[in-house]
């Protein structure tokens, strides 16, 4: 009897509040659901680089046997250039390799290679077989320069501006889609910016 009067009193007191309280679980569920749904389209393998908008680490690497030009920080003098981390043992590097060759043929942008933890003779054989798209190649035998670049998966491609600052980083192979939608517009923009900055 007392209980019935209590409930009736509660219902009379604030029907709007009760309605809102009833809605609360729905709101909480929708919020959590939304975040989880967003998570579905995130790639857990893509880690934001700590080096974006930071200068390229100091390095000076020797060339491959039979090649003349090694790669050092001081060589990155163009308004835009790519530093592509590759290795002959890296399967995904072969996937992006034809695209790099095409970019080199068309003179899209200077591409430098960072040969990461590779056997130098293996790397030379690889380049002889599939073609050499690189302007300069530095040999990073023990992977220490790679660590300074924050490399954790090959291939990785760094887009470096004329001041030696890393503007963008592409993890994994460059695909035609990445080239069209991301890389080419970025290169054009960086060239335009560099042109505007020059007197």
């Amino acid at each position: 009897m007392t209980e019935a009067t209590e409930t009736a009193a509660g219902a009379r007191k604030a029907p709007a509040t009760r309605w809102l309280v009833g809605l609360l679980p729905v709101v909480v569920f929708a919020t959590i659901g939304w975040f989880l749904y967003q998570g579905l389209s995130l790639d857990p393998k893509t880690i934001p680089s700590a080096l974006i908008n930071k200068p390229v680490p100091e390095f000076d690497l020797p060339p491959l046997p039979g090649h003349e030009r090694g790669l050092s920080r001081a060589d990155l003098t163009e308004p835009v250039q790519l530093v592509n981390v590759f290795a002959s043992w890296c399967v995904a590097c072969r996937v992006e390799h034809p695209l790099l060759m095409e970019m080199q043929r068309k003179g899209v942008v200077p591409i430098h290679g960072l040969n990461y933890k590779d056997g130098p003779s293996d790397a030379v054989a690889w380049l002889n077989q599939y073609g050499d798209p690189y302007d300069r190649i530095g040999v990073d035998l023990n992977g220490r320069v790679g660590i300074d670049f924050g490399v954790y998966g090959v291939p990785e491609t760094f887009i470096v501006d004329g001041k030696g600052v890393i503007v963008e980083k592409i993890i994994g192979p460059i695909t035609p889609m990445i080239l069209q939608e991301k890389l080419l517009p970025l290169i054009a923009k960086m060239r335009a910016d560099a042109g505007a900055a020059r007197p």
Partner: protein, 153 residues
């Protein structure tokens, strides 16, 4: 049959144990202990949710080597970790640092707990006093209870 299962189980149990011992430890045991400790805090970036202390991935091996070098060169624990963060970002730390970007992560549980506690407190206070303490029984009720209890004995 049981022996076979035991043998398989033991084989896999032993694998992580010898993964690390193929490397040359630091000469100073105190430094080596610190380096080992830090290895548990750094993520093996290629294997995602494993510490570099327990991974045999080449990058994990390299990072252990770099870490030992930093400690041997006289880095403090914080400096050695910072060296890694500068190269790989906060993600290299298995325990995310407390900073504006991660406030929601660290304080999120409180965001649920505190309102929950408030709602619970309000609910418990609103409950009719009779339900909380119980109204004292009338004389007649007492007599009835006593009768029932003695009657059963």
């Amino acid at each position: 049959m049981r022996g076979l299962f035991l043998a398989i189980a033991l084989t896999f149990a032993a694998l992580p144990a010898f993964a690390i011992f193929t490397e040359k430890p630091l000469a100073d045991p105190e430094q080596e202990a610190r380096a080992r400790e830090l290895m548990h805090e750094l993520r093996c970036l290629v294997c995602q949710n494993q510490a570099i202390s327990e991974s045999n991935a080449p990058l994990a091996r390299d990072l252990r080597e770099v870490l030992r070098e930093r400690i041997a060169a006289g880095d403090s624990d914080a400096e050695a970790l910072d060296y890694m963060v500068q190269r790989f970002g906060d993600w290299v730390l298995l325990q995310p640092p407390f900073k504006p970007e991660t406030w929601l992560l660290w304080l999120g549980p409180l965001l649920i707990l505190v309102p929950g506690a408030i709602i619970a407190a309000i609910y418990l206070r609103r409950r009719p006093t009779s339900a909380r303490a119980g109204t004292p029984l009338t004389e007649a009720e007492r007599a009835e209870v006593a009768r029932a209890l003695t009657g059963q004995e």
